[in-house]
Amino acid sequence: MDSSTSVALEPVLSFLAFSLSKLESGFYRIPGSAVVARYVKSSHQNDPGRTILELILVIFAIRTLLQSRTRTDRSGKHFIKFSEKEIDELVDEWVPEPLAQPLSEWEQRDLSSVPVISGPNGPKPKLLATGKIVTNLASFNFAGLAGNEKVKERALETLQKYGLGSCGPPGFYGTIDVHLDLEREIAEFLGTEASILYSQGFSTISSVIPAFCKRGDIIVADRSVNFAIQKGILISRSTVRWFDHNDLKSLEDTLISVEKERKKRKGPLTRRFIITEGIFERDGEMVDLPKLVELKLKYKYRLILDESISFGTMGRTGRGLTELYNVPASQIDMLVGSVANGLCSAGGFCAGSSIVVDHQSCIKQRINGTSFVFSASMPALLATSGSEAITFLRNNPSVLLNLQDNIRAIRAVLEKTEGITLLGHRASPIIHFCLRTQQQSLAVTQPTYDYEAEERILQDIVDDSIANGVLLTRAKHLRGQEMVESRPTIRIAATAALSRKEVEKAAGVVKASVTRILSKRR
């Protein structure tokens, strides 16, 4: 029995011995292996426990390296193990919700009431639905550049030479000389060192903010900033402190408290930004720029100012608030404006010192929220249209005087209207009004009004005034997605393209509509 097993084991044993010797000789053939062997031998002699410890360490290291890094959840304590069959059953049972929640009755009405213009937009567009020509108090055509023949001519010339699309992001042969020209012209116009163009106005500020503000930085922002700024702040992941809407006293208090906190924590100096708007898109309030700049300099903050509404409309030649208040634009670290609104073309820009702009153009590469680097540059003809618009503004300062006249005319009529409250600064080219109730302020924490009911009334006013030949629009917001819910308003955009008489007449129509609808309600 014994002999038979040993006979049977013999080839196995000899094979083992053979492979062992082969392994050994193979191991010693590796350069440097002698050192390892010597180390293991000596360490084992001194302390066999150490060898075991080291072996465990090696095994642990290999295991860690081999472990998949993406599937961390599987080992988590919340992970439930299922058999394949159970998973199949769960998959079969699962019923997803529809991709989109169907529109409510109000939303459907809202959507169907969106005006569609047939043909060119301008001071007197034709509506597609009715075929009627209406007076436009809704579109952003402040300086009356829509349909400007010179702009059109320039656009046509550009088209011939450049085609339409730029067909590439700015980094990859998408920068056309006309982009550089417009960037330079905007910078010269504003008096900053440089500027950078974005291909969509809305995406401009929401990319500019995360380009500079990072996690750990401090942003002090107005509570009622527009949606694009809110998104930008969200993406930046910075620490945000809000101050009361257009209240520089509250801003100063916030700045002081931030400074106090920092002193208490003795933390390092972080980047600090004040973000606000020149003229607020939501209600037409205007910021007191000299005071703001004074605060920013005093507390050593950088200022990001969104001039989407005020650029191209305010000041003698449309340079914006900096011209109006005679504050050098170089004092504003990042001045963001809209080529789409102010210059009646498309896109947006950020102007500032060349460090800011350069930094932006390169840092954009890295961060998320970068609509500059990862998006195709704007079509050449839109850039030259912007350039032409700047030339127009430079040469025709009277246009903005007309605009101011018209604003005054509209406000004069609407101020006398019963049942509504005009909001905003009296020089603002956008004029919001809401229904008059006890509560006058826009941003209220506990709404004392019925949001939907007010929206419906306002929509009735809009519909009525469109039927009477004046195009109006409610200020559209994404309810539930905005940080602060503001009161429903109707937004009037003044334009220089209409004469004072026409504007007065149109405002009269609005007034009549308001009175009619409100009296019906009562």
Binding site: V91, L111, N121, L156, G165, C167, F227, Q365, P379, R474
Partner: protein, 687 residues
């Protein structure tokens, strides 16, 4: 280790690099030739379209733009066959960038200049973009370079890093004026942290001359590059005022629809005359016009979807619509190589995100099984919905999504599918409908199709399409509707005309104004195709009344020819590079051909050397932010406007430059460059 030396040299401020840097003040040989040929031809009679066009595009842009053009806009109409031919034949310039390889015969009519759209009449150089179901789908063929290349790449990155750190260290102590923005000063914190900006300042700055190169004119077959040089190592760029015409394999003008003249431009011009430049407002308040409505209907028809919605920016299409699709309680499963715009959108949506390995269907399936069985984290509640987001054609890899498999999975696992067709729409598929067309999968089986206009259509902006209920909800609930400016009329007109020309328009009841458009567009129209009628043509009533398409556009033959040229060029370039021994990623049909270079030092050398060739070639290289550090690559984008000879030129250039830079590490069977050029047609049809 040559690149190491090269970087060291650059650091020691020796101007050795400038030899390779063509945008130096001294003009290249090629340019002298160009300007010499320009003068005699300028003196000839007026209606030489290409000559005028060239002169036009050569005129520096900062000249007074109001003074120059006095000629009629619709110039293409005044070009006659004979005059065109004389120009093309008499010009004895041998330069194949300016003039076609084979002069056209009298029957062939070309109205676009050769520099913008290559004249190629050879029907052999065509190919149909279609998936071959007899062959297995290759999800991602990744060829690994030899070990020493990986090693050298790592070493060179390390050297770059250490040099940068050293320079920062000493610079901050001895040259403070250059570092103010990196250091706290005057009570302000530094604007950029030096860690965050290190890559940009110390690594990318070295190759800044390869990025952001300004151009002028149409980014067509060739492109006019504004010459520039940098006296201070790319801190500032100085424009010399000169320009270089280079062969363009970097723009996304796949079908060359972005043209200075021709039907497309004519339609856009008409739209500007009728609508002006701006749409003055957002879609929801008062920026909508009839062109938007018309375009959206046309896009839906084009894609076979119920409804579509346009957005004025491609990036924003993803970043503002995705939040409207999924929110809290939903799960988004995203490919690891999805574009930044999608990642921004996902981030803003508030939904949970899980990532699967690039185009790896097994990984996707196992992930799906896991997430559906586990439900939401901690609570284990079932997901409200799962949205899988993939790209049709990945812009950095050139890979095609494995759509057939994903659609199978979709049926089993009931997720919603979102396909971003930014690069594939227009450029893939026998009918230009993108990946669904390429794989012949009904578009209805995909829930959301998104795409951009800035590539295939030569415009700007993007669209999203799907069921009507979804699109209506997006109109109201997405960020774009109430806050972003509407797409401008000129851009939307380009979209409409491009799309209509791809689809073809069913019997045109409107008489085309023969006085306006006597000629055919840009290239030859094969007569046998003109009568053909394909499904999915657009009814004439869907186009704006004023939009007149030339016959070659209305029957779709012109666009079809372009798509087939594009398909040929893509395949030829892809397979040709492989045969030459390069490592090329991606799918053979992809209009993006990523040519792997690996080493960051070679990236900029590749661009400079390609630009310094007798026939300069404009190429794009991509590195860190878009790809990983050690897989730097050149991204070549052939377009329909390239002729076979152009691709030959690119291949020859790559062959030579790639040989010098030691880039040929592919394992494919190798051919010589001449053999590749000769057997091009065979090569293209072999894959």
């Amino acid at each position: 280790m040559s690149k190491m030396l090269f970087f060291l040299e650059q650091d020691k401020k020796t101007p050795s690099l400038m030899v390779l840097n063509p945008p130096s003040p001294s003009p290249s040989i090629f340019k002298e030739k160009e300007s010499a040929s320009q003068l005699p031809s300028m003196t000839k009679a007026v209606p030489y379209s290409s000559v005028v066009q060239q002169a036009d595009s050569r005129a520096p842009a900062h000249d007074n733009p109001h003074a120059a053009p006095t000629r009629v806009f619709s110039f293409s109409s005044s070009v006659t066959t004979s005059s065109e031919d004389t120009v093309l034949n008499e010009d004895d310039d041998e330069n194949c960038v300016m003039n076609p390889h084979t002069p056209p015969t009298s029957e062939q009519v070309f109205t676009t200049p050769h520099t913008e759209f290559g004249h190629c009449a050879n029907e052999a150089y065509r190919c149909v973009s279609k998936h071959d179901y007899t062959k297995p789908f290759q999800e991602r063929a990744i060829e690994e370079p030899p070990l020493y290349v990986c090693f050298a790449t790592c070493v060179s990155i390390l050297i770059l890093y250490m040099l940068g750190r050293l320079r920062d260290f000493f610079g901050k102590r001895f040259a403070k004026s250059y570092f103010t923005h990196l250091m706290p000063h005057n009570g302000y914190a530094q604007l950029n942290s030096d860690f965050e900006s290190f890559y940009l300042r110390r690594i990318k700055r070295r190759m800044d001359d390869c990025y952001g190169q300004p151009i002028t004119g149409v980014p067509g077959r060739t492109v006019l590059i504004l010459d520039r040089y940098s006296p201070d190592y790319n801190h500032t760029q100085i424009y010399t005022g000169g320009m270089t015409r280079a062969l363009n394999v970097s723009s996304y003008n796949y079908l060359a629809f972005s043209q200075g003249r021709g039907s497309w431009a004519d339609a856009v011009a008409e739209s500007i005359r009728r609508y002006g430049v701006s749409s003055c407002g957002t879609r929801l308040d008062s920026g909508s016009n009839d062109l938007h409505v018309c375009a959206e209907a046309l896009i839906a028809h084009f894609l076979g979807a119920e409804d579509a919605l346009v957005c004025s920016m491609g990036f924003a299409t993803n970043s503002t619509f995705i939040p409207g699709l999924a929110g809290k309680g939903s799960l988004i499963i995203s490919d690891e190589l999805n574009h930044t715009s999608m990642r921004v959108g996902i981030q803003q949506s508030g939904a949970e995100v899980r990532i699967f390995k690039h185009n790896d269907m097994a990984s996707l399936e196992s992930l799906l099984r896991e997430v559906i069985s586990q439900g939401q984290p901690k609570t284990h509640r079932a997901w409200k919905k799962i949205l899988v987001i993939v790209e049709g054609l990945y812009s950095m890899e050139g890979t095609l999504v494995n759509l057939p498999r994903i659609v199978e999975l979709k049926q089993k696992y009931k997720f919603y599918l979102y396909v971003d067709e930014a690069h594939s729409i227009g450029s893939l598929g026998s009918r230009g409908r993108g990946v669904t067309d390429y794989f012949n999968i009904p578009p209805g089986s995909i829930d959301v199709l998104m795409g951009t206009f800035s590539k295939g259509f030569g415009a700007a902006g993007g669209y999203i399409s799907g069921p009507k209920s979804l699109i209506d909800a997006l109109r109201l609930r997405s960020h774009s509707g109430p806050y972003a400016e509407a797409i401008t009329p000129s851009v939307i007109a380009q979209v409409v005309v491009s799309m209509a020309s791809i689809m073809g328009v069913t019997p045109a009841p409107r008489p085309t104004k023969s006085t306006l458009f006597p000629g055919l567009d840009s290239s030859i129209v094969a007569p046998k195709e003109s009568a053909e009628e394909l499904p999915g043509m657009a009814p004439a009533s869907m186009l704006p009344m004023w939009m007149n398409l030339r016959p070659s556009l209305a029957d779709g033959s012109e666009a079809r020819m372009r798509m087939r040229r594009l398909a040929f060029n893509c395949r030829y370039l892809h397979v040709g590079l492989k045969k030459l021994g390069f490592i090329v990623y991606g799918h053979v049909s992809s209009p993006i051909v990523p040519l792997l270079i690996f080493n960051p030092g070679k990236l900029c050398l590749f661009v400079r050397m390609m630009r310094a060739r007798p026939i300069p070639i404009a190429v794009v290289v991509v590195a860190h932010p878009a790809t990983s550090f050690n897989t730097g690559r050149a991204r070549l984008c052939p377009s329909a406007s390239h002729t076979k000879e152009d691709i030959d030129i690119v291949l020859r250039a790559c062959d030579e430059v790639g040989g010098i830079l030691d880039m040929k590490h592919g394992s494919c069977e190798r051919w010589g460059i001449d053999e590749v050029c000769e057997r091009a047609v065979e090569l293209v049809h072999s894959v």
